[in-house]
């Protein structure tokens, strides 16, 4: 076909001097860096003891266009799988009922963590002065918005397509009843967004993400898959693909302060406190969620913890930061003691306090009890016998008139709540490292369960003023508190929480709880 002379001339010219059709990503990144303010003269809105360097680099150098393209592909795959394949194969109804309940806790709680991480990384953007470092934090802010939506979507999906929606939907309305929400908000909220901006980065990125997202977001997908849940791995593994950049951001936070001489005075203290804050909640709660919230087991929590927390994080990851003066936290040794028994201790308390929750707990079957004894020798003698006694007294059946909380009262085993972590503990019964210490300060009593938390409170008491449920509801009857604070299903009388997942089992109502006449009292009043 003939072409005009003009077209030919243009084609020939382009062959010699080709018009650019794409630009090297690194070139664009460098170009974007020139569009910046004088951040070295900027000041943050947030307090920090550290001076962040002006020339800190960012390892991934993602630009907005690349970022958006990458994340949109991930979202297409994830939502496509969920809405098409997984819905057609009725995946949500194939999840084991115990695990369905566990995901009420995990996804709702992680959503809170992701939401607070939006604020935390926004704060870090404001606090940093190096353009590249700001860029890294900004990409993370966008990630955290995505993750918040993803976690919310998991619960939405289970609600819409799955079994027993109560607790997947609108779990947050129950947040003031029991102790689990408060402990979670201590790590996922206060830890990420209050205090020193760099300390928040250490909590969020160096500990929360580099240490605990492996057990939380990766291990959970193994447990989910083993228990018939294809939904959680589809979403959580997509979340995890972003976490590497977040860990790198935590690394770069440390790099940015490494040349500040003053940093050496504070850094290892902040790291130790951040690690203890995060592990105090995550170690028992994740162990309990995996082992007691599943029917099909993967590997004992203590092994997962040792591999990912103790060896990979405490040894290798922190070891790489050794050249910047970072040391493995001294509290890691005490945390290791808790990794063996603390989640079993917590299950006893969680099951005793089940009416204050927003999910259904289940006593282990004989097969599961055998697994516990095999992997935690001595488990049956201490925990198994108690659980058997509760079952024999009919704790799952409303007509029994018995909830395990009554057993604690009958046997004079008071339950306390640690002021700093908000984690409940029973010093008489626990095999973990918790020990009771109670102080009175300015006319108010405070309960603690370990040396590290007690020191944190003695140093900064105004940071830990959260009231616990015994202080809040002392003198009030249990069913009245549950009713006022929205712990019931849409019929207005059946509790969201239940002590079993048996489809044919009878469900507890407010009337059943009222008949027990359980009245809150604060155990420190007796001291």
């Amino acid at each position: 076909m003939a072409i005009s002379a003009a077209t030919k001339a243009a084609t020939d010219a382009l062959a010699v001097n080709r018009a650019p059709t794409s630009v090297n990503a690194q070139e664009v990144h460098r170009w974007l860096q020139s569009f910046t303010w004088e951040f070295d003269k900027n000041r943050s809105k947030y307090p920090t003891k550290y001076k962040m360097a002006n020339d800190t680099k960012e390892q991934f150098k993602l630009i907005a266009k690349e970022y958006a393209r990458m994340e949109s592909v991930k979202d297409e795959r994830q939502f496509g799988s969920l809405q098409d394949v997984l819905t057609r194969v009725d995946a949500a109804n194939k999840v084991h009922p115990k695990w369905n309940e566990t995901m009420k806790v995990i996804s709702n709680f992680l959503e809170v963590g992701e939401y607070n991480a939006i604020a935390a990384t926004g704060m870090l953007w404001d606090s940093a002065s190096a353009p590249e470092q700001k860029n890294g934090y900004l990409a993370q802010t966008l990630d955290e918005i995505r993750h918040t939506n993803q976690c919310g979507y998991v619960n939405y999906y289970f609600t819409k397509h799955g079994q027993d929606a109560a607790g997947h939907n609108d779990a947050r309305r129950t947040r003031t009843i029991g102790p689990l929400w408060k402990g979670m908000k201590r790590v996922f909220s206060d830890g990420f967004i209050s205090g020193d901006a760099v300390e928040c980065s250490i909590n969020l990125q160096l500990v929360g993400e580099a240490c605990f997202t492996n057990p939380l977001i990766v291990a959970v997908t193994e447990w989910a898959a083993a228990n018939g849940d294809e939904i959680t791995p589809t979403v959580f593994l997509s979340i995890e693909t972003d976490e590497l950049r977040h860990m790198a951001n935590g690394y770069q936070t440390i790099v940015s302060i490494a040349n500040d001489e003053a940093a050496s005075k504070y850094l290892n203290t902040d790291l130790n406190n951040a690690f203890w804050t995060q592990q105090k909640y995550f170690t028992p709660v994740l162990g309990m969620a995996f082992e007691y919230g599943s029917h099909f087991k993967v590997e004992p929590w203590v092994k997962t913890w040792n591999r990912w927390v103790y060896e990979d994080w405490g040894g290798i990851w922190i070891g790489r930061l050794g050249k910047y003066g970072v040391e493995s936290p001294a509290s890691l040794r005490d945390a290791k003691k808790d990794a063996y028994w603390a989640h079993h201790d917590l299950f006893l308390l969680a099951y005793a306090l089940w009416p204050t929750g927003f999910f259904r707990l289940t006593l282990p079957t004989q097969e599961e009890m055998d697994w516990f004894e095999e992997n935690y020798p001595g488990w049956y003698e201490h925990y198994g016998k108690i659980l058997e006694e509760w079952k024999a007294r009919g704790c799952e059946d409303p007509s029994s008139g018995f909830i395990p909380l009554m057993w604690f009262i009958e046997n004079n085993h008071p339950i306390y709540i640690d002021r700093v972590s908000q984690v409940p503990f029973c010093p008489d019964l626990c095999k973990g490292a918790s020990t009771l210490r109670v102080h009175e300060y300015n006319g108010k009593k405070h309960t603690f369960s370990d040396d590290w938390g007690e020191r944190m409170w003695l140093t900064e008491p105004e940071r830990y003023e959260c009231q616990n449920m015994f202080e809040q509801y002392a003198g009030r009857e249990l069913s009245e508190v549950i009713a006022e604070l929205h712990g019931v299903r849409s019929d207005g009388k059946t509790l969201i929480a239940q002590p079993h997942t048996d489809k044919d089992g009878k469900m507890w109502t407010l009337d059943d709880i009222k008949a027990l006449n359980c009245v809150f009292s604060d155990p420190v009043d007796a001291l």
Binding site: K265, T435, T459, E460, P461, L485, V524
Partner: protein, 167 residues
Amino acid sequence: MANYKVHDNPVRDEWTAKIGQLKTLSKGHTFLNNFRKTHTTPLRENFDLELDWGWIECKIEEKVALLKHAELDDHQFLNNCICGADAQEVADTAVAAMDACTDKYEAEKLHINFRIDCKPPVMPTNVFMDADRLLGTKLMELRNTNYYALSLEELRIERGVKVITVQ
């Protein structure tokens, strides 16, 4: 023992009525300041309102903010505390006192008292937030230096707690 509901309860009703009686900025300021000293912060005079102090303080602040809006002009709103003092001068004085402070317990009191006296709506937010950042930064520096120098037993004594029990 507070045997009443969390949200609608007689204590909140009683304080709502008291707050309703505040008709001038001067009276609102005094009321708010007294309330904060008596019922808020770890240094509070008593824990009678332990369950409801946060809600009540918010309601007093709301009322004082409305009175402030009615009584102050735009210049005063941005530059003066509600007692009429120059906000930046008040903030600078507090920051200078903190700069000179080398004792963490004194620094803690300086910071807490600054918040009792100046937290908005008493001081304009634009001035308060930056001063609060500077005070908080210095307090954290003092608290986090030689963090493990004292044993727990020594730290309890230094903090002045009464030990009820230690296992």
